[in-house]
Amino acid sequence: MLNRFANPARFMRASGAVLPWVRTAAACMLALGLVWSLVLAPPDYQQGESVRIMFIHVPAAWMALSAYLLIAIASAVALVWRHPLAEIAAQAAAPIGAAFTLVCLATGSLWGRPMWGAWWVWDARLTSVLVLFFLYLGYIALVNAFDDSSRGARAGSLLALVGIVNLPIIKFSVDWWNTLHQPASVLRLGGPSIDRSLLLPLLVMWAGFALLFLWLLLLRMRIALNEKKTRALRLYGQPAARDEESAAPLSVVPGVAVKL
């Protein structure tokens, strides 16, 4: 499967076909999730209407962690197997993951003020998620810091792999340390402890966020490939020889058809 879409032209065709469906599915799930979260879901018996922030805060946190995991896996694939689309996927996912992390931090702060009486506390969960946000920003900055894009990509991949140690710290911080943040109530041994009336809209919003992430990822990967081709054409005036039917991806260096 990975080798099949290592050919950028094949990836562009497949992603072009899938994008409208993903966009429509994301819009439908988000619309359903928003109505359910804001109108249909009952208030919490302790937190009242402020629980409605949970329906964006928790899915955003899940996506922030998932996006970083994807970046780390793609970075490993790029370093070990030199898959031509792995670095592109990692770099495309980084701004999206950073956006979800920012949403998680901001909505968490807005939820924490009425519940805890504080906009921010330096407890383990909040601090580790803030570190995750800085990792995203650091990755984006590092990749773009080099004139040679391949060196920047390699440096970013190494940073992403080092930073993955933060993911279990985030997940288990509420168990390992005495934190203000509540323990897990969905992804836990023994199953979710949250009532179905709140769990279902939470899962619908998560599905909407996941589809939005997929749409943005495919879009940004296509942007990167388009811009790469444009740069090659501008530099050399003609593209490399291509074999559209071949399964092997080709270098974009013109004049030389090099099968990667």
């Binding site: 999206i96 956006a99 939820w111």
Partner: protein, 48 residues
Amino acid sequence: MGGYAGFVWPAYGVTTAVLGGLALVSWRRHRRSGSELLDLQRRVGTRE
């Protein structure tokens, strides 16, 4: 919103602004990159 409107609506507003802004920027850049490439391919004399 049971007295929590000042927290709930800004939370949804920030989410819409950040994710919606990213979606809009990405969509526009995607259209621009595609049309630039197509235009360049036409001028160079190659078509996908």
